[in-house]
Symmetry: C2
Subunit: 351 residues, 2 copies
């Protein structure tokens, strides 16, 4: 995590000028307010439908980095969720199997399991569901059907045994559902605690004064109406463009009707899931279509089209500085890549 | 590294039956012979043309995992050289930018810098040369020219500063040559010491008895005529198919004339670089066209088409067991993925 070595003159002035600012000391009222709006990350994002076990997590970690199950052998979860880019791919829209373009920007999988639904339009109900459906998504893994995907997986020596361990008492454990459950269990451990979590847990000095000032600006501007809870987002749907048409502000190439295309309910037109802001400073470009390249510009647009507010450069900068406190520490099980089974696995005497 | 917990009956019989075998104790004569044929890995694979500095290595490590410089934003060195697969991609022939198929199998970059030339046909003179040319290789990064690649790189905030640090006293350090030098310097640190290195350094018990027996078989069969030195290969050219046409044994889909297509010298027909066998147990499929799926089959074919020998199943198994002792330990700077710069980098007051 990067922390500010000091304050610029501008930020310092802002801190002293803002009503909630107390200079270098943390503001107890702001902390209390923040604790009402936001929640720190859990250690593991549990689900009653897919209890997290060490065996599932170990298998899911391998499957996350596995590319051999895709139709052309080039796509794994890791294609769009690169470790080096906070589990995104830095593309406006991801490119999957056979070079196919995805319809929307790939969200990070970090902390994603705690969101109320997955994908921009909520058409994946959980990380498990997302992982399973990705196997046959044409611009994702691109397999023509689940059976061919499972046949490839089962043919890699090592995996059938690991599935049997992760899903004991199942006669044929190599299934698309268990693929999703194993990857889902792994993703439920991909939690990235940040300075903001330490702050919410009571360490009022975990945020720099500039970050604390930015939090105040974030709250005052009205952002937590949608960006709240554990994910600072990821807990509700909202119309993109409450005040103005979003595509005019973002310069989007096409108009995406959002959840309407899933439900066909006119009330769902331009409705998208409110994205989590965790690690947002490390996941450009922004919005469902990756139409905006930088975080300051994204903040400016959001204030305008959602809240009807025109922020000053200083206000934008403060909010961005706060958002950087949401950049968390990667778990070592994500930072470090495992060896996949069966690269060279073969039965030999004496081994 | 996997080590055998014990010996199968077959391997045990073989150890006691072979002339160089001394049962469970190491054979000093075999060790002396091996030390004449092979050399342990250095700590760093130095080059006078590109001295390895910490600044170059740090930059090159980032660039290795960087996908944003490719023509479609999906290809980095890591596309074909995945950490999880011993720096290969498990494909017969790699798929690069815009889904383009490469003409040959991607060799691992681990320990590659010590080879006398790079690529199967020796048409890249060093790892630096390989990394630079990859920028414009159509089935690699796919950029139309070096200028557009460098423009993308220079536009990512953070890189110009890192290039300036790695190449001080250069006015415009963001060049294709320095891209190659930085990645080359990083790859010169990608050394994977194995049990066989410990053995060569004098720890005669570093190999299991089965591995030692396999080494004897490997030597007796004649493999070190080509597979010798630091890389156990990677130090000479050789005709593939000295005794028989290789494509008949491998079932290759097409006949690759090898280095002939580079030099147009008829003497170079079917000439390829002898590949290093380091980490070979983790880098299927095998040969320049990835035409053979398993290591036992590759060993069997090599003995036949290069040496005119038909090995028994037990002999093949012994050699494979020895080859597994060449599986080394990944450096933590490869196992662990770095954060790339400028995901969300933007100048803000106070940061």
């Amino acid at each position: 995590m990067r922390r500010s070595p000091g304050l610029s003159l501008l930020a310092l002035l802002a801190v002293t000028a803002l009503p909630w600012g107390t200079g270098w000391a943390a503001d107890p009222a702001l902390l209390a307010q923040a604790r009402g709006l936001f929640k720190p990350l859990p250690k593991v994002m549990e689900s009653p439908e897919n209890p997290v076990t060490p065996e599932k997590v170990a298998l899911g970690r391998l499957l996350f980095f596995e590319t051999r199950v895709s139709v052309d052998g080039t796509v794994g979860c890791v294609r769009c969720h690169q470790v080096s880019l906070a589990a995104t791919d830095a593309l406006p829209k991801s490119v999957g199997a056979l070079g196919r373009l995805n319809p929307r920007n790939a969200p990070t999988v970090l902390n994603a399991a705690q969101e109320f639904v997955e994908h921009w339009r909520g058409d994946r109900k959980s990380v498990e569901d997302q992982a399973t459906q990705a196997l046959v998504g044409p611009p994702s893994f691109g397999n023509p059907d689940y059976a061919s995907a499972m046949a490839k997986l089962a043919a890699i020596p090592g995996y059938p045994e690991l599935f049997a361990k992760a899903f004991p008492n199942e006669k044929e454990p190599v299934t698309p559902e268990n693929w999703g459950k194993a990857i889902g269990a792994y993703e439920r451990t991909l939690v990235t605690p940040s300075p903001f979590d330490a702050y919410l847990e009571g360490d009022a000095t975990a945020l720099s004064p500039a970050q604390e000032a930015g939090l105040g600006e974030f709250v005052q501007t009205g952002c937590p109406a949608c960006h709240n809870g554990v994910g600072i987002g990821g807990s509700m749907y909202q119309k993109f463009g409450l005040i103005e048409d979003y595509w005019k502000a973002t310069g989007s190439q096409e108009i995406d009707k959002g959840r309407f295309d899933v439900t066909k309910n006119p009330a769902d037109t331009y409705i998208f899931k409110v994205p989590s802001l965790r690690n947002v400073a490390r996941t450009p470009p922004y919005f469902h279509d990756g139409s905006v390249a930088t975080l300051p510009e994204a903040v400016r647009i959001m204030a305008r089209v959602q809240l009807g507010r025109t922020l000053t450069d200083a206000q934008v900068a403060h909010i961005v500085t706060f958002l950087e406190s949401l950049t968390g520490t990667l778990p070592s099980t994500f930072r470090e890549i495992p060896d996949l089974p069966a690269a060279g696995f073969h039965p030999v005497p004496g081994k």
